[in-house]
Amino acid sequence: MEIDVSKVDEVIDSFSGDLSQLIGILQDIQANLNYLPREALVRVSERLEIPISQVFGVATFFKAFSLTPRGRHQINVCLGTACHVRGGARILGKLERDLKIEAGGTTEDLRFTLESVRCLGCCSLGPVVVIDNDTYGRLNQEKVAKLLDQYE
């Protein structure tokens, strides 16, 4: 894929090319480009003057990074302990059935990527789902199904 290298450069510049910010740099590139294309990782390794293997090492170590394209909307279902004991797995199951994908998958039309995460830090609202930047709490299977319509 052709990528806009200037976007990658912009992100790196915003961190003044600071290696201790590598995770932040990769996160912002992913936020900009939707995932981490190979070309972007190569660019990061050139600009930070570190081996490409190190950039790949970090990009694959953390689950937050995706080396393949993602859906337009990101659904994160919390399976942290507090949400687990209040039935988080059933919420995930419902979304898996409705979207016909498994956790970690992306719908064919690239509308949604569905993932499970461990604790979103608002445990008293459990079970919790975050879609893009919107947090929804006190959910059940019926309520969660209704949320999806607002995301095109």
Partner: protein, 618 residues
């Protein structure tokens, strides 16, 4: 414009000016804008309040204060109306005009927005009378409810940065360390290591520069106190770090924040900038020759990166794997330099110890655990939220007196503390005083402060499997014992929950647990068996029921349960039939419904949809 403060007198003068401007009797509406209340739409409430005030020409007379998390997120969105301290909960946008016309303009209390004590049925009017708050000791977390986290002036007005001035001008670095040692403060990140001792080792370690790090990776799934502190009172953490850096002799700090916490990053960034403008951070702090700057680093979302050496590896731009700790990170940490890592809450305790004195601090808590601890009281409990209590309070007081007991008339089963490194504590131990040592004695841990309450509807084998699955996923894979051991334990637990459990499985789990704990490099592996071992210790009968009788007493493990409809209770309303995703339910008007076990995928939709409690799980 903020003018640089060049000495403690400047700071005091600023404080007096700020206090004078802040009339405590002014009418003020405090709105919680923490992440919890945010999810319930407090943003719209704030806009509506502003609009209504303007409409009624009250902008000058009534102030709106947007704060961080108050702790009682369960009841959000929360509003506190001062000076009366009226406490309104579960407020909706539609309530806003009435709040202004009735409460603000006429001084009447709106009954339906009051909190009702679920135990006594009594309506509670004032914030400090709510049982959830009344029994807490909120020395660290209390300010969250009264200050705007994006205003350093709010923090200074309540005494902020006074401890810093005292530490810099009235104390030597050694005296600060001695004071923190005397206070008895122990690390709040999980291990409970004495903070003063850690600082001392780092100060004495050879090598320059030294680093100071704040651990805000908060990996315990079910705990969110670090988030709420950083979001709601970032300066308290920052002030602690500056004092620590001065005592240790460090000029560079880092705050390592989980990526899931964007609001914490945002508020911290604002705090750093404002502190720099006042000269409370950066070069020549408060006119002294001491420099200290802080950088924010975002984590990548790996639990193991909360471990000290793994965290430092990620800061160096490496994958976050722990390393052997023959040499401690205080001697050789970030870039192989002496590095002092403390948890968010640990840092937030420091200004208080310096300001009020270590003697005052050491009065709180128990012999071996001083001060307070913030717990994230969640799961199957009426009042969920963040609670700050003195060390030594009993579990029963937390769960029943503060938490209001178990909802829905269900029976208490266990409380899980210590996150994935901790254990499940049964009812027979509810009178246990909560402190570092007592929790370890019963096979659990203090951990970072997650406290997850479970009722009879939670299966202990499932909970053990949940944690082992988590740790198996999060193991960095470096040690065979941890990588393979957690995998094997997971498989055994999976077999048990799927009805394939065999005699001897429990003993095998115990044996494996011992090996994993003994042979692993970092504490992830070292404590990984705790959730399994503690559930075996206290809930062995549940394991036996799964293995011998192929039965899940709590009705959780799908392979061992059946959904059925009680024909006596069923009103044939048809809701479950429509909700069922696999056409497993049949029935007609006035004919009690039935579930075809062959077709049922055990999703639980029927239970959720039935209004008559007719669907039973066995």
């Amino acid at each position: 414009m903020r003018e640089r403060l060049r000495n403690p007198e400047n700071l005091e003068r600023l404080r007096q000016k700020l206090q004078k401007e802040r009339d405590p009797n002014k009418r003020r509406i405090t709105v919680c804008a923490g992440t919890g209340c945010g999810a319930y739409g407090c943003g719209e409430i704030i806009s509506a309040l502003k609009k209504e005030l303007k409409k009624r020409k009250l902008q000058q007379d009534v102030e709106i204060k947007v704060t961080g998390c108050h702790g009682f997120c369960e009841r959000g969105p929360l509003l506190v109306i001062n000076p009366q301290k009226l406490f309104y909960q579960k407020v909706q946008v539609e309530d806003v005009p009435e709040i202004l016309s009735e409460t603000i303009e006429k001084g009447n209390v709106i009954d339906r927005l009051l909190y009702v004590n679920p135990v006594t049925g009594e309506k509670i009017v004032h914030e400090d009378e709510v049982p959830f708050y009344k029994l807490q000791e909120r020395i660290i977390f209390g300010s969250n409810g009264s200050i705007d986290p994006t205003s350093i002036e709010d923090y200074i007005a309540i005494g902020g940065y006074r401890a810093l001035a005292k530490a810099f001008f009235d104390m030597s670095p050694e005296e600060i360390i001695e004071s923190v040692k005397r206070s008895g403060l122990r690390g709040r990140g999980g291990g409970g290591f004495p903070t003063g001792l850690k600082w001392e080792s780092c100060r004495k370690a050879p090598g320059e520069p030294r680093y100071v790090i704040c651990n805000a990776d908060e990996g315990d799934p079910g705990a969110y106190m670090d988030r709420s502190l950083l979001e709601g009172n970032p300066h308290s953490v920052l002030e602690g770090m500056v004092i620590g850096a001065y005592a240790i002799g460090s000029n560079q700090g880092h705050v390592f924040v989980r990526k899931e916490y964007p609001l914490a990053v945002q508020n911290l960034r604002i705090a750093l900038q404002q502190a720099e403008e006042y000269g409370l951070l950066g070069e020549g702090i408060l006119g002294t020759g001491f420099d200290f700057s802080v950088r924010i680093n975002r984590g990548g979302g790996a639990f193991v990166c909360g471990e000290s050496s793994a965290l430092m590896a990620s800061l160096e731009g490496q994958p976050g794997e722990p390393r052997a700790k023959h040499i401690h990170t205080v001697i050789s940490g970030l870039y192989d330099k002496p590095t002092n890592l403390n948890n968010v809450e640990t840092w937030a305790n420091v200004p208080l110890i310096i300001d009020k004195g270590d003697q005052w601090y050491a009065q709180l808590g128990t012999e071996g655990s001083k001060g307070t601890k913030i717990f994230s009281l969640v799961g199957k409990v009426n009042n969920t939220g963040l609670v700050e209590v003195p060390m030594g309070i009993t579990l029963r007081e937390i769960v029943y007196d503060i938490g209001g007991g178990i909802p829905g008339g269900k029976k208490f089963k266990a409380v899980q503390t210590g996150g994935p490194s901790g254990g499940c504590i049964p009812e027979s131990l509810l009178d246990l005083p909560v402190d570092f040592d007592r929790l370890t004695e019963v096979g659990s841990m203090m951990g970072s402060g997650g406290m997850i309450v479970m009722d009879e509807g939670n299966c202990m084998v499932d909970v053990a499997k949940y944690f082992i699955n988590f740790l198996r996923d999060e193991s960095c894979g470096k040690c065979t014992s941890c990588r393979e051991g957690t995998q094997r334990m997971y498989e055994i637990l999976d077999d048990i929950t799927e009805g394939r459990g065999k005699r001897g499985d429990v003993e095998l789990l115990e044996e494996l647990g011992w090996v994993v704990a003994e042979a692993s490099l970092c504490a992830l592996g070292g404590t990984a068996p705790n959730p399994v071992l503690s559930t075996i210790q206290y809930f062995r009968d549940e394991y036996e029921a799964h293995i011998k009788e192929k039965r899940c007493p709590a009705g959780v493990c799908k392979a061992l349960i059946q959904y059925t409809i009680d024909s006596e209770l069923c009103t044939a309303c048809g809701r479950c039939r429509k909700a069922c995703p696999s056409d497993a339910i049949s029935g007609a008007k006035k004919v009690p419904h039935k579930i075809d076990q062959e077709k049922c995928i055990k999703c639980g939709m029927c239970v959720e949809s039935c209004k008559f409690d007719a669907v039973k799980v066995q």
